[in-house]
């Protein structure tokens, strides 16, 4: 007879409860998006007459498609930028000894302690003086490098053996090529994790895009959806529909990259 350990039962029960708590709002959002306007305040769970009308409506009669595009461009460009620059800086800090490298690292780390709310004013002043207000560049410039990403990548690069880099030097590669062709492929798990964080962070960013943009055709999805919530009336079915669509890219990014995190290439070319 198989012995069931009570610890395992409790563990799985807690995990299942946690899962339910996580998934309920998502299901509620999805279900509401399929309800017609007359049904949304009714308490039954499933829509009596499921309809895709909300989806057609939001995609054809609002700026939503435009917001989606803006959000996607901002999140994609920022993510690529974060992956490139954060890993480059992290690699430099992990693998090169130079005067002041410790101070630079601590300075970058200390930016993690500053909340966004404190930064929006300097960002705004900067954007204004550079003429970036109400532009896509204005939305994305603060998110193109992150202290957290530099920290994450530095820690991962520190685990890449120096002998591999030396071998590449003898094989005739330049320093950037060593970074690009030897070191970077070995930290794909970290890159995947960082890509998920960066994409999610930029995709869901609300405060800064709200402040820096004024034209509705430059809104990101979160800002655009918030604009549907008015003083006297809120289009809940539209907000839920927009949110449902907005979930798709984040889910895709997560599904595509999570396998990388789990099956990351191990450093098995070395002794073992």
């Amino acid at each position: 007879m198989k012995i069931v350990r009570p610890g395992r039962v409790i563990g799985f029960t807690l995990l299942a409860l946690g899962g339910i708590v996580m998934i309920m709002p998502l299901l509620f959002m999805l279900v509401t998006s399929l309800k017609s306007n007359s049904e949304i305040y009714e308490l039954h769970v499933l829509p009596r007459e499921p309809t895709l009308g909300n989806y057609i409506e939001i995609l054809t009669h609002s700026h939503f498609a435009r917001w989606f595009l803006v959000s996607f461009v901002v999140a994609a460009v920022s993510t690529v930028s974060v992956l490139f620059f954060d890993s480059l800086i992290g690699y430099t800090l992990a693998k090169f000894r130079f005067r002041g490298s410790g101070v630079v690292f601590v300075a970058i780390l200390s930016t993690l302690m500053i909340p966004t709310e404190m930064l929006v004013i300097p960002w705004y002043v900067m954007a204004k003086s550079m003429g970036w207000l109400d532009s896509i560049w204005g939305i994305m410039f603060p998110g193109m490098m992150t202290g957290f990403g530099v920290f994450l990548m530095r820690q991962f690069f520190a685990g890449v053996p120096d002998e591999l880099l030396d071998a590449a030097r003898i094989d005739g590669l330049g320093e950037f090529e060593i970074f690009w062709k030897v070191a970077l492929p070995l930290v794909t798990p970290a890159l995947s994790a960082l890509a998920i964080f960066a994409f999610l962070g930029n995709w869901t960013a609300f405060l800064w895009p709200l402040i820096v943009t004024t034209s509705p055709n430059l809104y990101t999805v979160p800002v655009g959806l918030a604009s549907l919530s008015g003083e006297f009336q809120t289009d809940w079915e539209m907000i839920m529909t927009g949110s449902s669509i907005a979930t798709i890219p984040t889910l895709l990014v997560f599904i595509l990259l999570q396998r990388n995190i789990v099956n990351g290439i191990t450093l098995s070319g070395l002794k073992g």
Binding site: P161, E163, L164, D166, A167, A168, R169, I170, D171, G172, L173, E177, V182, P185, L186, I265, T266, L267, S268, G269, L270, K271, G272
Partner: protein, 365 residues
């Protein structure tokens, strides 16, 4: 093929000097082994030759050309690392051809050279595997293959066998020797294992504390060590060192007196150390081949049977001596056995400086 010359090489990290002035000539096609205890600077010296570190002072010449300011890739060297340093995300074939690809060699040429090296090392069936799918010995062969493919002027080996188990180590050591006999490329090999040094080297460079203690063929270092450190480091088990005193024309050991052999110099205070290798401590019937004055009786303390031979530790006059007994019969602990020092194989060192002053040293001069 090329010679390698080191002139007054010094290297300091921050304020700690690791290499303290090394002069050395390595001839074309020679196999030279840098050996020494941990922290003696042997790996650092190899990295200086590779160009992975900059020298603090002195000149490195490869094939007569000063390469102090030449990048590693332009020194025409190849290096095999202790951890093998294979790129984990590339197949064996790509690992081996990576340097050539970086040098923009045509693909057909890369394939030909990788194929040749793989055939030489028996790696043909592994070319499409990744390093993670290989055993330690196979990885080591791939690392050598990567070096061969580049057809360098100098091979550098940085303790390439230290991660292999004992049996595999012997096999790969033989492979390296065969490889050198086949390609005859100038090779510099770093190890802390004196057995590797003895078996592989044309010449051994024994380092301690950033300085060269002695350079010579394995047999020279074994038979004529320049000082006590070399004498103890080379040879296994290590040479027995017995404190002694020179008194008129006799050497006074704790348990006997010996006629003084010819000496290069005499220490002013008369304090010397007598060295004798375990193989040169005679036992049983062999004792009768030496004069009476060199014979004594000792008590067996420890017996380590090893099959064809046994290693014994015997005690005499409060001094433990290690000796090797050939054959499958061995005495029991507590037994007293006849021993003798082979007078032709005695080493004499100045007790204060450790420098060899015995007859062998005189004949070398």
């Amino acid at each position: 093929m090329a010679s390698v010359t080191l002139r007054g090489i010094r290297k300091a990290f921050d304020r700690t000097e690791i290499i303290k002035g090394i002069d050395l000539d390595i001839a074309d096609k020679e196999f030279v082994v840098f050996v020494g205890p941990s922290g003696c600077g042997k790996s650092t010296l190899l990295r200086l030759i590779a160009g992975l570190e900059d020298v603090s002072a002195g000149e490195i010449l490869i094939d007569g050309r000063v390469v102090n300011n030449t990048a590693p890739k332009d020194r025409n060297i190849a290096m095999v690392f202790q951890s093998y340093a294979l790129y984990p995300h590339m197949t064996v074939a790509r690992n081996m051809g990576f340097g050539l690809r970086a040098a923009k060699t045509p693909t057909s040429e890369i394939d030909r050279r990788v194929g040749e090296a793989a055939a030489m090392l028996g790696l043909e069936s592994l070319l499409q595997r990744r390093p993670g799918e290989l055993s330690g010995g196979q990885r080591q062969r791939v690392a050598m293959g990567r070096a061969i493919v580049r057809d360098p002027e100098v091979f550098l080996f940085d303790e390439p066998l230290s991660n292999l188990d004992a049996q595999l180590r012997n096999q790969v050591r033989t492979d390296i020797k065969k490889l050198h006999q086949q390609v005859r490329t100038t090779s510099i090999y770093v190890t802390h294992d004196q057995v590797e040094a003895m078996t592989l080297a044309d010449r051994i460079v024994l380092l301690r504390d950033g300085r060269i203690e002695q350079v010579g063929t394995p047999i020279e270092l074994f038979t004529c060590p320049a000082n006590r450190f070399v004498a103890r480091f080379i040879g296994s088990p290590s040479m027995n060192i017995i404190p002694a005193q020179i008194d008129d024309n006799e050497i006074v050991l704790p348990w006997m007196r010996l006629p003084t052999p010819p000496l290069a110099t005499r220490p002013t205070d008369g304090r010397i150390e007598l060295g004798i290798r375990p193989d040169d401590l005679l036992t049983g019937a062999a004792c009768h081949s030496v004069p009476e004055a060199y014979r004594f009786t000792a008590e067996v303390r420890v017996v380590e049977p090893m099959g064809a031979e046994s290693q014994l530790i015997v005690s005499v006059g409060g001094q433990d001596l290690q000796l090797r007994l050939m054959g499958r019969l061995f005495p029991k602990p507590g037994e007293r056995i006849a021993c003798a020092l082979d007078p032709a194989e005695l080493h004499v060192f100045d007790a204060t400086t450790g420098v060899a002053i015995g007859q062998r040293h005189i004949s070398l001069q």
